[in-house]
Amino acid sequence: MRRDYTLYFFASIGSFLVVYIALPLMVILTKQMSDWGMLVKTLHDPYVIEALRNSLLTATATALIALLFGVPLGYVLARKDFPGKSLVQALVDVPIVIPHSVVGIMLLVTYSTYILDSYKGIIAAMLFVSAPFTINASRDGFLAVDEKIEAVARTLGASRLRVFFSVSLPIAFPSVASGAIMTWARAISEVGAILIVAYYPKTAQVLVMEYFNNYGLKASRPISVILIAISLTIFVLLRWLVGRTENASR
């Protein structure tokens, strides 16, 4: 049999990106391993713990808020044609195009002291840049639900709302959930907008920057490693859980 050289060739080109992403992760982790003491010390620093807690709580709150508002919006976008729909659709994608420092400025100009240096501000900044993931994933999830299934459920006696909760949402769940996970991940990785809107209460992302500016690369490394470890663990765990429910419903 002839080998498919095209695929091998493409794989060797494509592996550049895989290595490019994996390498810094490996390097920072291995470097920190050789400085175990510093890592443990950082973990006992109440200032760091406080910042980590802030990051995790605000990112989780952001994901929940995005779900609350994004899932209904995604359903409407999937099911209804209305004038101005493409405008709404474009608007939803806008946060991806705007530099995040600009997002921070925009939010501050609009909501000013109401969000300045508060948890509300952190969540506001996170929500702005990360909500599109939940909205778009929900819309795609609902688009993949056969409308005939909803029609049958209605003829069997279910109201539209009932159909949504007993049929559409469960079927679209894996898609909605992965959207929420992406929102969470995007939220916890946000710095630019938070830096401008809410430098305090301090989040771990901002703390890394502060340590880097004040004490240099070596000082900022342990918190970075902790942040990587926590984010990745939660991300992988959630994705695995969603993948499991997806398989179970097949």
Partner: protein, 344 residues
């Protein structure tokens, strides 16, 4: 029981025009039409999923035209069955009962009873994705019938099944109907389903319901040329009738009854007899013909014939074709009974 009055609707590429018919209690009413005639749109209007532009739908004396689907109580079975993939077979069937607040033990009993009749009681724990086409169809029917709806709406229920499963389920459908006694409005393009299941049939062409009647009447006496063509009268002969004789392109054909003036008659290709020699038979019409071409259709062959200025198509089996040596340009004799002719 169900009365549809003058339903019209423009929907995507479909145009329904003034559709009226009624379905009686316990009846199996078939809407027969080629794909693209708008049959599914009509079913979804009756189910309440699409709103009509004009017309009325009356169920048991009540005008339900603008009722939402959940208030109509009709059970709809779409062509792809649309089972709920997130639920087990049991929960699929129980869905309508749960919504009606039926007590748990009663749900359990009814689901098992219906599943038993439909022969799917061993599948109740399974997920829809693991079922075969025939099994899925049974589950969809069970889910519809368990709520004992006044009417079930079936959209091409046998179209996605292989030939053997279809034949088996067609037979069983009659049994389920006897045992459960439901009323059905059944949309299909298959003559086989219409003939074997239908009490009455409505022929739908291009968004219009062109003929409604008992199955035998519609098939034996199509009301118009287009119905005849759709139902398989491939030969439509146009000419001038004088008493029992029809003159068409210089050919004289004997008619089953006396008529006058310009008429069209239909003749099914399977009603034409081909022979190599002139034969003495009870067939009143016999002509010399030339084979224009031969079209192989598997076990059957469609022979295109020319009699003077007249073109006819006949079906014969493949083995007859070989035995008689029928090829292009061959001369032979064509016979058919006057009673096989249908005058429109």
């Amino acid at each position: 029981m169900l009365r549809v009055e003058g339903i019209s609707k423009d929907w995507k590429e479909f145009r329904l025009r003034g559709i009226s018919f009624d379905v009686g209690e316990g009846e199996h009413f078939i809407i027969l039409g080629p794909s693209g005639a708008g049959k599914t749109v009509l079913l979804e209007i009756i189910a309440g999923i699409i709103e009509p532009d004009a017309g009325k739908i009356v169920l048991s004396g009540e005008d339900i035209t603008y009722f939402p689907p959940e208030r109509r109580g009709l059970a709809y079975i779409p062509q792809n069955y649309a089972l709920f993939p997130n639920m087990s077979v049991f929960d699929n069937i129980a869905f309508g009962l749960k919504l009606r607040g039926v007590p748990r033990s009663e749900i359990e009993r009814k689901v098992r009873e219906t599943a038993g009749i439909l022969g799917i009681d061993h599948l109740l724990r399974r997920k829809p994705k693991t079922l075969s086409g025939g099994e899925s169809q049974r589950v969809a029917i069970a889910r519809a019938l368990v709520i004992e709806p006044p009417l079930i709406l079936l959209d091409e229920p046998f179209a996605n099944l292989d030939v053997q499963t279809r034949a088996k389920l067609l037979g069983e459908m009659k049994r389920w109907k006897r045992e459960l006694g439901f009323t059905a409005l059944h949309v299909t393009h298959s003559f086989e389903e219409a003939v074997s299941l239908g009490d009455r049939v409505g022929v739908m062409l291009d968004g219009r319901l062109v003929q409604v009647g008992p199955v035998r009447d519609v098939f034996s006496r199509p009301a118009s040329e287009e119905v005849a063509r759709f139902l398989g009268f491939e030969n439509i002969i146009e000419g001038t009738a004088e008493g029992r004789v029809l003159r068409s392109n210089g050919v004289e054909i004997e008619l089953p009854a006396e008529t006058m003036g310009r008429v069209r008659v239909g003749l099914r290709p399977e009603d034409i007899i081909l022979s190599l020699e002139p034969i003495r038979s009870s067939a009143r019409n016999e002509f010399k013909a030339i084979v224009e071409s031969v079209e192989e259709l598997g076990p059957l062959v469609r022979v295109h014939l020319r009699i003077g200025g007249l073109n006819l198509r006949a079906f014969i089996t493949r083995s007859s074709m070989l035995e008689m040596g029928i090829t292009k340009g061959k001369e032979l004799y064509v016979g058919f009974k006057a009673s096989a002719l249908h005058v429109f």
